[in-house]
Structures are given as C-alpha cells and as structure tokens.
C-alpha cells in the first residue's frame, strides 16, 4: 500500500513539475520549438530527451562549465527549481 501511495504521489509530482516547466519554457520555444522539436539544425530537439541529460547540460551552461553565446546567458536566469521543472517538462514530451 505504501508503495502504491508513493507511486501515485511521485506521478503527481512529476506532472506538477512538468506543468511548471511548460510555463517556464516560453523562452525556450523560440529556438527549440513549441513541442520541443526544433525546426532548425543549429538547435537540438528536447522532446523526449533524458531528464538527467537536460539537467546536466543546463546546469553546465549556467555555471560556465559549458559555454555558448545563446545558451549561457539564457541559463543564467534559471534557478535549480527552474532547471528541474524544464527537465521534467521536456523529458515528458514524446
């Protein structure tokens, strides 16, 4: 029973994070597409990308471990929670 409650709560939490991520993704859609599918070859698709990968890349951009003239400034505006929400959102898209 405890496991069932845990699974339900986890699922709900994921959906809440994903919804929060959708609201925060308004800036991202200009390059990565409204559904996380980029129409241009310079920028990657994010829909269905592994959550851990998105988490690492965005944190790396923000903390200057990875540098890019577009992504570095954008990610500077994000908190840990923002990154978590965005990763949940894009990884939940198919």
């Amino acid at each position: 029973m405890k496991w069932l409650v845990f699974l339900i709560l986890s699922s709900l939490a994921t959906q809440v994070f994903a919804q929060a991520g959708k609201a925060k993704a308004a800036t991202c859609v200009a390059c990565h597409g409204e559904a996380g599918i980029s129409v241009n070859p310079l920028w990657p698709n994010l829909a269905g990308q592994k959550k851990e990968y998105i988490l690492k890349q965005m944190a790396d951009f923000r903390d200057d471990r990875r540098r890019d003239p577009l992504m570095s400034p954008v990610s500077k505006t994000l908190s840990d929670q923002d990154i978590q929400d965005l990763a949940e959102y894009y990884s939940s898209l198919k």
Binding site: A26, T27, A30, G33, V39, L42, L70, P73, T77
Partner: protein, 405 residues
C-alpha cells in the same frame, strides 16, 4: 502602385519615409527575455541591427523552417513594402511603394584561435533611400562570444549604423526623427570599439566622419565632413528582466558654418513583464527620452507644415522627445502593439508639441517575414497644425510588409 503621374507623391514619400526605411534591427524584447546582452548573438555588428548571422536568421524565422538558400551565414537580402494612408486625403504622401531593399554579404577573411576578421557589406538596391552602401566595414571579432573584459571584443572600421538609443525595427518615432538616428547616414564612416566588461554591461565608443549638414542637405563630393564622437552604455543584468542605456553623439562644428555643433543624447530602458510574471504577462515595455540640438534638419523638410519660417527656426533649437511602447505577444507569432510618442520641437516653447498614439498588430507569417499594421492618432498643440497639415500631425493608417532571406 506608383506611376509617372504620381511622381509628386513618390517624392513626398521619399522625404517622409526616411523614418521608415531602416532594415533589420535588433529587438530588445528578445534580448530581455533571454537575458542576452550581446547583439552579436544574432547580428554581426555589436551595435545591433543590420546583417544577421545564422543564429539571428534562425531566431528571426519565428519557428518557421528556413530554406536551404537562407540557411547560410554569408549572404542575405531584405525588402520592405509600405502602404500609407493618411486620414487627410489631400495629403500627397500616400499609397503603396517599395520602401527599402538591400543585399548583404559577410565574408570571412582570416581566422585564428582568438579572432575572426571579416568584411561585412550591405548595399541598398532601391526604395526611399538612395542606392548605395548601408554597411561596409572590416571587423575584427573575438571568437569567444562570452568574454568579459574592458578590452574591446569587436573592432570595426568602415561605414556602419552606429549605436544610438533603442535599436529596434520601430523607426516611426519622434526620438529617431529628432536625433537623425534611424537611418543614420549622419555618421557614416569611422571606427567603432565595443565590448562587455561584464555580462551585464556593454559599451560602444566610436569616432565617425561624414553626415548631413545642419540644414538637412547631404554632403557632396569636395565638402568638408564633420567628425562625430559617440558613446553607448547598456546595463542589463541577467536576472533583472530590464535594461537601461545611455547614448550620446557629438559633432564637431561644421567648417565655415556659423552654428554651434550638433549633439544628441538618449536615455532608454526596456522592461520584460514576461520575465517579471513568469510568462503570465508576455509583454515588453520600451521607453526612451532623447534630446537633440542642431540635429533637426528633418524638421525643415516635411514634418511641420511651415517649411519657410517655423521649420528652419527650430532646426537649431534643443528638441525633446519621448517614446513609450508596449508590445504584447498574443501568440508566438502575433504581437499587439501600443505606441506613444511625443515631441517638443523647441524646448523654449514646450507648448508647441506633437503627440501620437498608435495601435496595431505585428504578425510573423513565414521565416523572416512579417507584416505590421498600425493606426496612429496624432495631435499638435502648435498653432497652425491643428488641422493636421504637417506630417507630424496627421492621423494615418499604415502597413509594412518585410521579407528577408
């Protein structure tokens, strides 16, 4: 369409539409939303505006897919069409016309680990502005697009649009008119140094030679040119959702002309309601205040109705202009706009003012293609302009269609 029989209309539109004729310019609302404080993220010039790099082309495509021909960063073209319909039907400036057209190329010359040297050229091919080079400069650019240093990261020499005030594709404003900074043929050829000592702080300083005379006429071959010195400082903290900037340009006195030198200053700001509300209010507020002295050759042209006495008299006075604009993104491709601008031609006579309210929409309908429609309600408190005689006091509807590759 324009015909031979409507040459007077065409001539009028040429004079009137300088304020329309600029091509691609940076859009500070995007810079604010993304926190990017470097115009070179999308444009070749660190001053913003003009030819765009590949990232800029893709970003400007508004989510539409670029054609293989456009999807390169070495060449491009742009064209603008204008339909202008003043409420005063006897106004000679009306109709549909090709407003501006240009082709451009950005040619890399040398490249090493630290810098890229390139030649950037943009040629006007038609429209209201006479054919000729709009940009033609040699640029040395630091390849690290994120370097933080007081040492310039971009050095460019040649003909270019210098930074002054809010660099947007919104040209029909009094602050652009009074400071002659929309089409910027006032400062033509020179040296520009730009850099970011911090991510949040950007500077441009330059010295340029050439430009129109105080009476608005252009320099011709053999005439002495003026030197102009300009500076621009922009502060935009990554998490702030706002930017604030100061610009100034000062000209040497004209050779052989008994007038004081020309100058203009601008304080400008932009606020991202989108950022402040977590995306719930997808809007951006733009604001600018500009002063100019001896820069008002355009006023003697068609802006005021009295071009024989009042126009020339205000050409050497200090003018004050205000711009406020609210852009609301209804969708990713449709933007509602409200614009207010106000102008006092002579700061000694503040009652002689022009005010204009504009309501409109901008729609992106293809990759780097958009149209913009606006109705503008203009009023003037200057005696003689109540009937909407001068161009600055005429209610009007206009549409601009822009396409770029």
């Amino acid at each position: 369409m324009f015909t031979q029989g409507r040459s007077a209309i065409f001539t009028g539109l040429i004079a009137f539409s300088s304020a329309f004729s600029n091509l691609v310019a940076a859009r500070p609302e995007y810079a604010l939303r993304t926190g990017i404080n470097r115009c070179t993220a999308c444009h070749y010039s660190p001053a913003g505006g003009g030819p765009r790099n590949l990232e800029g082309k893709y970003y400007g495509s508004a989510g539409f897919k670029l054609s293989p021909f456009s999807a390169q960063q070495y060449a491009g073209a742009e064209v603008k069409f204008l339909y202008y319909s003043p409420e005063k039907r006897s106004e000679v400036r009306n109709g549909l016309a090709a407003m501006a057209g240009s082709v451009w190329a950005a040619i890399p010359l040398t490249e090493n680990e630290r810098t890229t040297t390139r030649l950037v050229g943009e040629q006007n091919i038609g429209g209201f502005t006479a054919a000729g080079p709009r940009h033609l400069y040699l640029q040395i650019a630091d390849r690290d697009g994120l370097k933080k240093s007081w040492i310039p990261q971009h050095i460019q020499f040649g003909r270019m649009i210098p930074p002054f005030g809010l660099m947007t594709d919104e040209h029909r404003t009094y602050v652009r008119l009074q400071s002659a900074s929309a089409w910027n043929q006032n400062v033509a050829i020179g040296l520009l140094l730009s850099g970011n000592p911090y991510d949040s702080l950007h500077y441009d300083i330059g010295a340029m030679n050439g430009g129109p005379l105080n009476d608005g006429s252009r320099l011709s071959a053999g005439q002495a040119s003026q030197w102009a010195y300009l500076g621009n400082l922009r502060f935009q903290p990554a998490r702030g959702g706002f930017l604030f900037g100061l610009s100034a340009v000062h000209y040497d006195a004209e050779v052989g002309v008994a007038k004081t030198s020309r100058a203009a200053q601008s304080a400008y700001a932009a606020f991202s309601l989108h950022r402040w509300t977590g995306g719930r209010v997808p809007a951006t507020l733009l604001a600018e205040y500009a002063e100019a002295v001896n820069m008002n050759g355009t006023f003697t042209n068609t802006f005021v109705s009295d071009v024989t006495a009042y126009g020339p008299s205000v050409a050497s006075t200090r003018s004050k202009g205000i711009l406020g604009q609210l852009n609301y993104d209804l969708t990713a491709k449709v933007q509602l706009q409200y614009k207010f601008d106000s102008l006092i031609l002579d700061s000694n006579f503040p009652a002689d003012a022009y005010d204009r309210h504009g309501f409109g929409v901008k729609h992106y309908f293809g990759p780097n293609m958009w149209f913009q429609m606006r109705y503008e309600r203009a009023t003037s408190s200057r005696p003689g302009e109540e009937a909407g005689i001068g161009a600055g006091a005429i209610d009007a509807f206009w549409t601009v269609v822009n396409a770029a590759i």
